[in-house]
């Protein structure tokens, strides 16, 4: 598995760090306990195409949103994202 960083080009996997599924969005501060529980602990754990956050720590240090198939490891899209923290609150 190699990831084509939009800034650095194709780089080996060891340069990247994985955060996980890009879908969970941090609930609003006044959201109930159920919403926080869901956000922190529950996962779709998709078998198939999944959008996820990777960090290019061994390169440009940018956060990336990678579209990848968890059954085959095939990567279909890589795009820059505003940082996992920002992305999770929908910025």
């Amino acid at each position: 598995m190699r990831i084509v960083c939009p800034f650095c080009g194709e780089r080996e996997l060891g340069e990247y760090t994985y955060l996980g599924d890009a879908k969970p969005q941090r609930p609003a501060a006044d959201a109930g306990e159920d919403a926080v529980y869901d956000y922190v602990y529950l996962r779709d754990n998709i078998a198939g195409v999944m959008s996820e956050h990777w960090y290019h720590g061994g390169g440009c240090r940018a956060w990336l949103k990678v579209t990848r198939n968890t059954l085959t490891h095939e990567i279909s899209a890589v795009e820059p994202t505003a940082g996992a923290g920002a992305a999770k609150v929908g910025v």
Partner: protein, 417 residues
């Protein structure tokens, strides 16, 4: 049939032509008292304990491939009970005690070998942490010995004790830990369960749950037709989220890939199982002579049963750093399995929110050693509808309650456990 020295002699005299199949390959019936999904070690152990301990013999084990084709045949065969947190300590010791009598219970040679498991430490702080874990084990009646460097040098003189980054100061030894032949564990449970009337049904993939108007499970849809039952136990680690999704559940689990490796066979070298946590490497030597080793999970969600090269490099570097001479040994095979990584690194054995559906999931990369204990407490849960006392903390709602069992202290980031 019963295995003994006499059955072996009789079969030998007849040219080994009289052996019967170890277990019965059954076709599905319309209805069972209990259906277990997953014909791996945990599923088969559950079926055997249901039949032998809890008197429920009308049981089916459904396996989508062949028994033992998943993680039961992909692990590195290590057994141990050196856990430090309440919940884990007692449970894994229950499992260890069952390993110690498994072969007699099952009338099957699982090659359980209590050769000892050593966790190496490299600093004063790590020694103190290991001393604490060893003390936790000992006050719970589990054996543990803290070895200093001199004692370790006698056992394993070939270690790179003077490594500049991770000098080996000593190790925490559990002498009762060791290895077992993983395939034989599956075959042994299949053999003993089948003898008690359990139906083991292969090539039978569950495709959905049948539920009544109240949502209670009344059966399963499978690739070999519908099977009615009042109780379904799920033991499908790696695929727990996918099976649970058929019942409308989302779990606190991510599936990740873990790689394992075996070298060409060499003469006896390693007396124990040895873990080098600081360098992401652990190793033992199989009875065939191959060095069986591994390291960390790859770190990204995967259902692919294969990993990537950075971890191969990392694991081999760890091996070279600790035992420089293994650089001359050739790698024979390498493979991957799918780990049910839970949000705190500990398993879930509980009733699910769906009535009639029971969960056995979230084993992370530590499911093999738990096989007999998991089967026993899961059978207890299914038969009596309440948790066994040694599994009482492995509840599904512990995440909501903040009652995590997080040995590594990593929080809800499964790829770091």
């Amino acid at each position: 049939m019963k295995y003994s020295i006499f059955s072996l002699a009789r079969a030998a005299l007849s040219g080994h032509k009289t052996w019967k199949p170890t277990w019965r390959d059954a076709a599905p019936k319309d209805r069972y008292d209990v259906v277990i999904i997953g014909g791996g070690g945990h599923g088969l152990a559950t079926a055997w304990f249901l039949a032998s301990e809890f008197g429920i013999r009308n049981v089916a084990v459904l396996e989508k491939g062949w028994i033992g084709s998943g993680n039961a045949g992909r692990n590195t065969t290590i057994i141990r009970s050196n856990y430090g947190l309440p919940g884990n300590t007692g449970f894994y010791e229950l499992s260890m005690k069952l390993w110690e009598r498994m072969e007699q219970d099952l009338n099957y040679n699982a090659m359980v070998s209590q050769r000892g498991v050593i966790n190496l430490y490299h600093s004063d702080a790590q020694r103190d942490a290991f001393a604490r874990r060893g003390n936790t084990m000992r006050i719970n009646g589990i054996d543990a010995d803290l070895l200093d460097q001199a004692a370790l040098r006698k056992l394993m003189p070939f270690l790179n004790f003077d490594n500049a980054r991770f000098p080996v100061q000593g190790g925490l030894l559990q002498r009762r830990g060791g290895t077992a032949r993983h395939d034989a564990v599956v075959w042994g449970y299949a053999h003993a369960a089948s003898e008690l009337g359990v139906d083991i049904i292969q090539n039978c993939e569950v495709t959905g749950f049948v539920r009544d108007a109240n949502g209670k499970v009344t059966g399963v849809e499978t690739s070999r037709g519908k099977i009615g039952t009042g109780k379904v136990g799920m033991a499908v680690a790696g695929s727990s989220s996918r099976v649970a999704a058929m019942a409308g559940l989302r779990l606190p689990i991510e599936s990740h890939v873990l790689q394992a490796f075996v070298s060409e066979a060499i003469k006896p070298l390693l007396p124990n199982v040895m873990t080098f946590g600081a360098g992401h490497f652990y190793v033992s030597q199989s009875d065939k002579g191959g060095l069986v080793f591994g390291g960390d999970i790859d770190g990204y969600n995967s259902y692919a049963q294969r990993g990537n090269l950075p971890v191969v490099e990392d694991v081999c570097e760890g091996g070279m750093a600790l035992i420089p001479m293994i650089g001359r040994v050739r790698l024979l095979r390498q493979w991957g399995g799918i780990m049910d990584m839970s949000m705190d690194g500990s398993p879930i054995i509980d009733k699910s929110p769906v009535e009639g559906l029971y969960l056995n999931a979230g084993w992370c990369y530590g499911g093999f050693k738990a096989t007999p204990g998991s089967g026993f407490v899961f059978a207890h849960l299914i038969a009596q509808d309440q948790s066994h006392k040694e599994a009482a903390r492995f509840r599904l709602d512990r995440f909501r309650r903040g009652a995590m069992i997080d040995e590594k202290g990593q929080g809800a980031q499964p790829n770091l456990h």
